[in-house]
């Protein structure tokens, strides 16, 4: 099947890449610090580049527009004064300020840099960068290598990390020299032939419907990963045609797949950790790049074509695999319409938004769109208008996405896909379809798959699952494409011990039971544990199934090696030892294995009982209960509030120019008299700086928090979005750490807020319900912003929903979500027979609930509070969280609403939060599982500090 027009090309000359390289390297990071030495450095680099024409004006304009803000003359004069006041051999270098908050990082240190030392560092860096007689870039590949090396050397821990401290502008110290050079280079490329730059906004879909058509966690993860992989094809194509610098969002160097593409040689020989990284979905499906207007449509065509080709190639690989498995005749009969379903799936929208270099043209464009240019200032280039132009292009893409197209109608009379319901399931197609014939086709597919090598590792399909071409491709993409012959990740599906575990995702039961599994790992030598594992082994032999291996990085290295981690988490729940449950869960037929199964199951159940006794007796728990696994886990969906407004310069909390200038030593009075009260325009450099921070957060920091520190697993983490599974035990600390990570100085700063939806469900509940609940909760959190909405679906009880603040101040002390864990610990500790805390008594919350109607009226607040205190803590010590939840719910950022509105709001619904909060605490105490948080986190730390040695 052909996809796109194959004749489209975007010609680039060596001069194009050389000029981009010049823009990346010049002015050097020392240009503003050591103006005197710059000429020599510049001459040296220009000689190396050997350009046909210098094009100084083009480069000057690009730098100006990348910087994107007009710094008044009087500020420049101030700087000059300060410079002259300092000894000539020293450079006072103030710390960078945050690009979004405009605040100075708390741990920031102003430095005095010695010019000589700086010169030596520069020389060492440039020598290293141009080492090996590096030739000036002459094509896409060599330019990309230079750009990546530059970013690599300047990254934290890189040989020239000092470069990351050099500001792009000495006054506006809110973006780095690196971000500014990146955008200047992108602009030089886009304008080189006298052309105009354009912003190319891209959207690849469908996303939600594609990802959430998932029966199990691995479907969910793979759906998310495939969308990430497909969207990456477009990003990569743009990066190849225009350079990686042209991709403003996401930051190309932080993408795991981009890092893979830089590697040469045999990928199969790479380490497990590296391969693991390539399987992390962090490419957003919506992104933006700077391209040249003349070629913009061709670039768009090639980018979209790359996405389509990759998807169609994936479908073709799966179809080929199935044809080989089923035989040509059976495949042809059952896979009718396969290609069509695959071809119709993708939705790709692009907008090419002009970004003229002429100020009048930009202002006229914005005026026509009835958008206000925030900075209609003197002729200082169009860099200041970047935010408005970016916002216009983004909104145009949003408007385009609102225009509906119907999927082509090629349906037929086959049964619909059991996973998505959006297309006909594969199977024989005829005018008079017979269900038996159609069922037989699927049974045959199952039978043949079960004969494949490593079939006992995975249940590819269950009986009764009938999938369309899209869901089939999702289900089998790992087997036939990603880790099939010649797969792009260097993985081999048939390497069941090494590679296959990397392509799998833990079950929700494994996530729910993760803390207990970590505990058992340290008890692996105990007789009861060994016996339990032995009987599970025997049981697995009978049901012809293998332990899946450890799929949680927080517990240890992925794959098999430690028995207690290898077996699936379901075996830590007594209810999994039911005969029918075992047969159903492993899709086995009781007639074939009946008697043998009964014996093995009885033994395994018995061994599990002994394991429980061992856990109860060997370790004295705080509340004398045995250590056990809670069946509950959490789905966390979160993102940054109003990220779009931060980027298009319309956010209420954006810093003013005055605040930024204050960091350069300009006094407030001075700045005000100079008219610097307007907000600091979001330039392309500033956007690139934010993208880099988002990229590092998504690709590294958040994974470490969720997976390594809190035993969870991330499904998707890209841009400002996260979707993750977390055990109940670690949920609150994990949420706290995520919020801290997002609002850290090194990330998005203290002014951004997050909204999160958390769904706490039993692992036996359908996965899609938990996902829906989490998304719905996130939507509710978004209505308020800056809070967490928890949806607790108790297996045998009324659901609880409540809204929690991320943190609040109490008498100058910071309170955050981690306190909830501490409160639960406290409750559990005092839970002794005969001395049960009032809150854990069956009556407490119900009494409150009943009395709420009477006590919630205005004027009875004191009585309400007294009642809560008496019921919860008769000794009068009430945790600040309870007080907080008795007061109004967390107010949205910004000015608080008038008092009467707050009171009414409280009367209507807010005061009920304390009851929900008490119910939540009671639930958490019940599901505590006897494993203290301190002990659990000690074990996690111990595991993290150990060198993992694979047996």
């Amino acid at each position: 099947m052909t996809t796109m027009d194959e004749t489209t090309t975007v010609p680039r000359t060596p001069e194009y890449w050389k000029h981009k390289a010049r823009a990346v390297l010049l002015p050097t990071p020392l240009a503003e610090l050591d103006a005197a030495g710059e000429q020599e450095r510049q001459a040296s680099l220009l000689a190396w580049l050997d350009l046909e024409q210098a094009r100084d004006e083009l480069h000057h304009e690009a730098t100006r527009d990348a910087r994107g803000v007009h710094v008044p003359q009087w500020v420049l004069a101030l700087r000059e004064g300060a410079r002259q006041a300092a000894p000539s051999a020293e450079l006072p270098l103030r710390a960078l300020v945050h690009p979004l908050s405009g605040e100075r990082p708390q741990d920031a240190v102003d430095a005095i840099w010695q010019l000589d030392e700086l010169g030596r560092r520069y020389d060492a860096w440039i020598d290293d960068l141009l080492s090996g007689e590096r030739m000036p870039p002459h094509d896409s590949r060599s330019f990309a290598a230079l750009w990546h090396d530059l970013h690599g050397s300047a990254s934290a821990g890189g040989p020239a990390s000092w470069i990351a401290q050099v500001p792009g502008d000495p006054e506006l110290r809110d973006h780095t020299w690196l971000a500014q050079r990146t955008m200047a280079s992108a602009l030089v490329g886009a304008r080189l032939d006298g052309d105009e730059a354009c912003l190319l906004h891209v959207h690849c879909g469908p996303v939600q419907s594609f990802i959430e058509a998932a029966r199990r966690t691995s479907d969910l993860w793979l759906g998310s990963y495939l969308i990430n992989l497909l969207a990456y094809q477009a990003t990569k194509t743009i990066a190849e045609l225009c350079g990686p610098d042209s991709v403003i969002y996401p930051h190309f160097a932080t993408l795991p797949l981009a890092q893979r593409d830089r590697l040469g040689g045999d990928l199969a020989q790479r380490s497990t950790k590296e391969k693991q990284a390539w399987l992390r979905a962090s490419q957003p499906n919506r992104f933006v790049a700077v391209v040249d207007g003349k070629h913009a449509q061709d670039i768009a065509t090639l980018a979209a074509g790359a996405v389509l080709d990759r998807w169609i190639g994936m479908g073709a690989a799966v179809k080929r695999g199935l044809a080989k498995l089923l035989g040509p005749e059976r495949a042809e009969r059952g896979l009718a319409g396969f290609d069509q379903q695959i071809a119709e799936l993708l939705e790709i929208d692009l907008v090419v938004q002009p970004w003229p270099r002429d100020v009048t043209a930009v202002q006229s464009m914005l005026a026509t769109a009835k958008r206000t240019a925030q900075h209609p200032s003197e002729d200082v280039g169009t860099g200041e208008h970047y935010e408005a132009v970016f916002g216009l292009g983004r909104d145009t893409l949003g408007a385009q996405r609102r225009v509906l197209s119907l999927p082509p109608g090629h349906g037929d009379a086959r049964v619909k896909c059991t996973q998505c319901g959006r297309r006909e399931a594969m199977g024989p197609r005829s005018d008079r379809p017979r269900r038996q014939e159609w069922r037989a086709w699927w049974e045959e597919l199952l039978r043949r798959l079960s004969r494949q090598p490593g079939a006992s590792e995975t249940v590819d399909f269950r009986r009764g699952e009938w999938l369309c071409a899209v869901c089939l491709t999702k289900r089998l993409a790992c087997r036939y494409d990603l880790a099939g012959p010649g797969g792009e990740l260097g993985l081999d599906w048939d390497l069941t011990e090494d590679d296959r575990p990397l392509l799998r995702f833990p079950s929700v039961a494994s996530i729910a039971a993760a803390p207990l599994r970590l505990y058992l790992r340290e008890q692996a030598a105990h007789q009861a544990v060994r016996r339990w594992i032995r009987h599970l082994d025997r049981l697995h032999e009978i049901i012809e199934f293998k332990f899946p291996g450890n799929l949680l990085p927080g517990l240890g290295e992925l794959g098999r090696g430690v028995d207690v981690l290898d077996c699936d988490g379901t075996w830590l729940y007594a209810r999994s030892y039911e005969r029918d449950t075992v047969l159903h869960d492993h899709d086995r037929n009781g007639d074939e294995i009946g008697p043998r199964l009964d014996d093995a199951l009885k033994d395994a159940r018995d061994a599990f009982g002994r394991l429980g006794k061992m856990l109860a007796s060997a370790h004295e728990r705080p509340n004398r209960s045995s250590v056990r696994a809670t069946p509950y886990y959490a789905v966390v969906v979160l993102d940054v509030d109003e990220m779009g407004r931060w980027l298009d310069g319309t956010h209420d909390r954006r810093p003013s120019l005055e605040e930024i200038l204050a960091q350069a030593g300009v006094t407030t009075d001075h700045a005000r008299s100079g008219g610097a009260r307007t907000h600091r325009p979001v330039s392309s450099s500033l956007h690139a700086e934010v993208s880099r921070r988002q990229g590092e957060l998504a690709a590294t920091t958040l994974r470490e928090i969720v997976e390594e520190a809190h035993l969870g697993r991330v499904v998707y983490s890209g841009g400002d979005d996260v979707l993750a599974f977390v055990p109940l035990h670690t949920l609150w600390c994990c949420l706290r750490d995520i919020e801290v990570a997002f609002t850290a100085d090194a990330a998005l700063g203290s002014k951004v807020t997050l909204s999160a939806g958390v769904a706490i469900h039993d692992w036996r509940s359908p996965l899609s319900l938990a996902l829906r609940a989490a998304r719905r909760a996130e939507g509710k959190a978004k209505q308020i912003k800056g809070c967490v909405v928890v949806d607790l679906e108790i297996r045998s009880g009324a659901p609880i929903e409540l809204r929690l603040p991320w943190r609040f101040e109490d008498d100058g002390q910071r309170r955050d979500l981690a306190d909830i864990s501490a409160m639960v610990e406290e409750l559990v500790k005092v839970d002794e027979p005969g001395n049960k805390p009032l809150l854990l008594r069956p009556s407490a919350a119900e009494v409150l609930r009943r009395e709420l109607g009477t006590l919630r009226h205005e004027g009875l607040e004191a009585a309400f509070r007294a009642r809560v205190r008496k019921l919860v803590r008769p000794d009068g010590r009430v945790h600040p969280w309870l007080d907080h939840m008795m007061d109004t719910a967390p107010e949205p950022p910004g000015p608080p609403p008038p008092r009467h509105v707050r009171i009414l709001a409280r009367k209507r619904r807010e005061i009920g939060q304390v009851v929900a909060f008490l119910l939540l605490l009671r639930f958490l105490a019940r599901e505590h599982g006897g494993l203290e948080h301190g002990e659990l986190y000690e074990k996690i730390e111990r595991r993290r500090s150990q060198e993992e040695v694979r047996p």
Binding site: D349, V403, A413, G779
Partner: protein, 410 residues
């Protein structure tokens, strides 16, 4: 209007319990763990009303031709479609007085919520803007979209050929919740849509809009499947045999409603007979929403559409928009005169009882979708709808019921 003169009736359905309107996913308890309901399609109510009318006419479903003579012209048969048009389902709420009910209408998708604030009495006020087609910018951005596959399966990037829906508001927030419009809210929307320059809508909760959860909420039900792996057909309350069903529960003061219309050309005899049959349904229980689902019917001898509503395409000016109150069969890409469509795509499927096989899926527009027309050609549009309906043998008139509104694009 007297009984004899009435050509339109409204049937109100009061659900007596939770209702299940499953999506197109096959569901076998024990194999699948989740069955999800969606908002009911016109075909659901068409089936329920026809079955109820057959029963009212004394049909015996075990006998050939159901033992009826001469009712085919009214109720239809395998070869002939019924002699009435059914429009719906819609949602109505009890507002007291006479007729006592008014429509609650799906949110028009060309109105975007730009903000939400609390009113003086703590009520929630939605601020919404109605999108207009964007005028040319200079320089104009290029909008590109991946086209549908051609016959060879080739897809290419094409310029967007439709108008671009636009608001002057900067970045629009993500949609939150599922608001519906009351008649008062709908009237504001219709009036503002026709005005060249208009201020944003300010819609007060309860008065102008309602959240879907407040009248139709999802309810989870857990069932137990039969254990077949063991070769037995017994009920086993093991965890793996539990399945979840998402059903709908409707608030007591709300009803589903359908309008039944008999054309004036149908003849007095047909009209009288249908009127008699419909009248018999008043107060009856009909099967609706799952095997054990029932609803009580109330017959209202008129349409409930508000006076200002113009449901007839023929009265719409050439520059109009259609706000769909029920799913529509128009294809935005080929509907004559359509310059842009905002909304959601759904797929119509179901099971063809006559052929005893699943129906092919057909793409359609969900309720609340809005189509903008320029140079509207009523006849061509009707033909387009008929042709699409034929693809799945659906009664075209039952789909695409909504409000025609003169479109201002200033």
């Amino acid at each position: 209007m007297s009984d004899e003169q009435s050509t339109t009736w409204t049937l109100l359905f009061e659900p007596l319990g939770v209702l299940v309107f499953r999506d197109d996913r096959p569901f076998d308890a024990g194999r699948h763990a989740l069955a999800v309901s969606r908002f009911p399609l016109p075909s659901v109510f068409r089936g329920a009303v026809r079955a109820a009318l057959f029963e009212a006419a004394g049909a015996d479903f075990r006998r050939p031709g159901f033992g009826l003579g001469g009712e085919d012209a009214i109720l239809g048969n395998g070869q002939q479609r019924e002699g009435f048009t059914l429009r719906g389902p819609l949602v109505v709420r009890d507002v007291g007085g006479n007729p006592g009910y008014e429509y609650v209408l799906p949110w028009p998708r060309d109105a975007v919520v730009t903000g939400r604030r609390d009113g003086e009495n703590g009520e929630s006020i939605l601020q919404a803007e109605i999108m207009r087609a964007r005028h040319a910018h200079d320089p104009e951005p290029t909008c590109l979209r991946m086209g549908a596959p051609d016959e060879a399966g080739k897809r290419s990037l094409e310029p967007l050929r439709t108008a671009l829906p636009w608001t002057e508001a900067s970045r629009l927030p993500k949609p939150q919740g599922k608001p519906w419009l009351t008649v008062a809210g709908a009237q504001q929307y219709v009036q503002r849509s026709s005005q060249p320059e208009s201020a944003p809508l300010e819609l007060v909760e309860g008065q102008d809009w309602l959240e879907q959860d407040s009248f139709l909420c999802e309810e989870k039900r857990v069932g137990i499947a039969r254990a077949t792996e063991s070769g037995e057909e017994r009920l086993v309350a093991a965890e793996s045999m539990l399945y979840t069903l998402i059903a709908w529960r409707m608030c007591p003061s709300f009803r589903f409603a359908v309008e039944i219309d008999v054309g004036e050309a149908s003849g007095v005899g047909l009209h009288t007979r249908l009127a008699a049959l419909i009248r018999q349904l008043d107060g009856r229980l009909v099967r609706l929403g799952g095997k054990s689902g029932h609803a009580r019917v109330t017959v209202v001898e008129d349409a409930l559409a508000p006076r200002w509503a113009q449901p007839l395409a023929s009265q719409a000016p050439s520059s109009s928009k259609l706000w769909l109150w029920t799913p529509g069969l128009y294809d935005p890409g080929t509907a004559p005169g359509a310059i842009a469509t905002m909304g959601e795509a759904i797929r119509l499927g179901g099971f063809d009882m006559a052929k005893h096989q699943p129906r092919p899926l057909l793409g359609a527009l969900d309720r609340g979708s809005v189509l903008w027309f320029s140079a509207l050609d009523h006849e061509a549009l009707a033909r387009h709808r008929e042709e699409r309906a034929k693809e799945q043998d659906l009664p075209a008139a039952s789909y695409g019921y909504g409000q025609w509104i003169p479109r201002s694009n200033a």
